[in-house]
Symmetry: C2
Subunit: 335 residues, 2 copies
């Protein structure tokens, strides 16, 4: 099936750029609810599955034994901007495991949120692995390992017991194999496994409803969704799509971006999971496509303020350095 136009960038009343992609909307039994484009084609989920990777941390009881807070659980599901609260929260998670940032194997990079990067530079400090957008996920794996008295060293490698447990959670949620045949290496040095877009959407339908999960995984999913809904800043950060969407919708919508234009969402009340991949890898297009898709769910009974938030996210005015309007980033064909 041909992929569809997801989003367009306009300037001077013309379409300047156009993003193609595919969208799968599935229920928790694996039934196709909406299919746009090649939804059976495999994609690397990248950071979209961080909340699934966090399931063992909660399900095993490690999170409770270590006393992890909502903010810390939300950070375990995050691709954060490296803002001070993000880095501090990652450090706090490690401290609860009796560890420090030297255990992190994600590598260091400057905060992706520019203001945080400039403030860090102005303070005379250099970025650490705590500022890596994946530091919460990595701290979560270290917590999982420590709780089981495992040596966390090498937790990023497929053969490590903690990594094996989080990979099992992916298999359970998506019902597709994760092994060396579909393995790629992610930016933070953890594996990422190529799976059909439809399977990714099914996994997030289940993450929303808990059905077709074990009871332990179902309650862990509910706990993680609740944590993320109460601490949406932790999942992304200032000005970011995921944070903006979940700050408004709370536990009605879970969403998560991933590098190279992947986006997932759970709609627990409707029992649906969504997965989007832009063909070209542009995240800006996946964001407006999700907002536009959500706007179309009449059965969700959106309020006027819900619609206002979704409309704002699916039709964004672009301004230049002088604050003058130059065009729009919007869902395709909705101009």
């Amino acid at each position: 099936m041909d992929d569809i136009a997801l989003a367009e960038v306009t300037r001077g009343g013309r379409i300047e750029s156009l993003h193609l992609g595919r969208i799968a909307v599935m229920d928790d039994s694996g039934r196709v609810v909406q299919a746009h484009g090649a939804i059976d084609k495999a994609v690397f989920p990248r950071s979209t599955v961080k909340a699934l990777l966090a399931l063992p941390l909660v399900e095993t009881g490690a999170a409770d034994r270590l006393g992890l807070s909502d903010a810390e659980l939300a950070l375990a599901c995050a691709s954060h901007g490296g803002e001070p609260r993000h880095a501090e929260t990652a450090a706090a998670m490690l401290a609860k495991a009796g560890k420090t940032l030297t255990c992190l194997e994600c590598g260091a990079h400057w905060p992706t949120y520019d203001k945080a990067a400039h403030a860090l530079a102005a303070s005379g400090a250099a970025p650490t692995a705590l500022h890596n957008n994946c530091s919460g996920k990595h701290a979560g794996l270290i917590c999982l390992a420590i709780d089981q008295s495992l040596d966390p060293a090498g937790y990023i490698d497929p053969g490590h017991e903690a990594q094996r447990q989080v990979t099992d959670a992916l298999v359970m949620a998506t019902s597709v194999p994760h092994n060396e045949a579909n393995r790629g290496l992610d930016g933070c040095s953890m594996p990422t496994y190529a799976i059909p877009l439809s399977a990714l959407a099914t996994g997030f339908a289940r993450f929303g409803t808990g059905r077709n999960f074990s009871s332990g995984h179902a309650s862990a999913a509910a706990r993680l969704r609740s944590a993320v809904a109460s601490e949406p800043f932790m999942v992304a950060g200032s000005g970011r799509f995921d944070t903006t969407l979940m700050a408004h919708f709370g536990n009605r919508i879970f969403c998560k971006m991933g590098a190279e234009g992947v986006m997932v969402a759970s709609l627990p009340e409707l029992g649906l999971g969504i997965a989007i991949k832009t063909d070209d890898g542009a995240n800006r297009a996946a964001e407006v496509a999700l907002a536009s898709l959500l706007l179309g769910f009449d059965e969700a009974g959106w309020s006027d303020s819900d619609r206002a938030v979704l409309t704002g996210l699916s039709h964004q005015v672009m301004k230049n350095w002088n604050g003058r309007e130059v065009g729009t980033l919007r869902a395709a064909g909705k101009g």
Copy 2:
């Protein structure tokens, strides 16, 4: 004509993302030499035409009267990274016109080159309009206005005499109208005019050969190409594609990127101009597509070192924060 696959991103041995686009290769008479995709469709050239906009600065004699150096002329053609030498050179251009950065109407933004942004923040300073990637172009227009005893205020507006002169240069080079019907607003608040990709390529064939230019414009083009070839750092900056390519090829290849995935090049010895637009606006794809296209010009008689540079730019290994190889960014179908 359908657009073609220009570039692909791979991970774990799979294609993760794919960029479509179109390529026009034209000669200076406007003859089509290669057409891939919809080359007659209009695109906003964005920053690709900065060298054409600089023609009046040289052709009127303003550059000589003000004593502009090669580095300063190259900066007039630049989308620079805001590195210290870039900002200093923009300030020097303004000083030669008896002006300061308060005349710049491009707006301020942090250097796009991260290391320069972090160093600026660490110094306790804030970015100014000198760090705007377009500050050289703007300083050039101010120099042009001052040399003609014009008040530079409002030089960014279509009705300003200096702006009218640079727009005339675009019309002359591309042989297509530039007026309110095809006008958009660029990031730096100057107009950008949508023109066929083929016309953009023709303009850069002429920029390379000087044929079908007035004699004044032809010598101005030669002067600008020479300036850029001798100061390629000024056109972009550290680690940037344009700088890397021209630092190796000197005056054999002129190239210039523009926002939203536009790329142009001149091959003076072959009498050819090239224009590329990625459908989705990704600059990474336009870069590898140009390098791959150039590699295919057997008539250019590339040396082994020429081929090594082009191969490196058209097939780039991507590494993660730990320096581990995760995939490639490469010309499509060349894997």
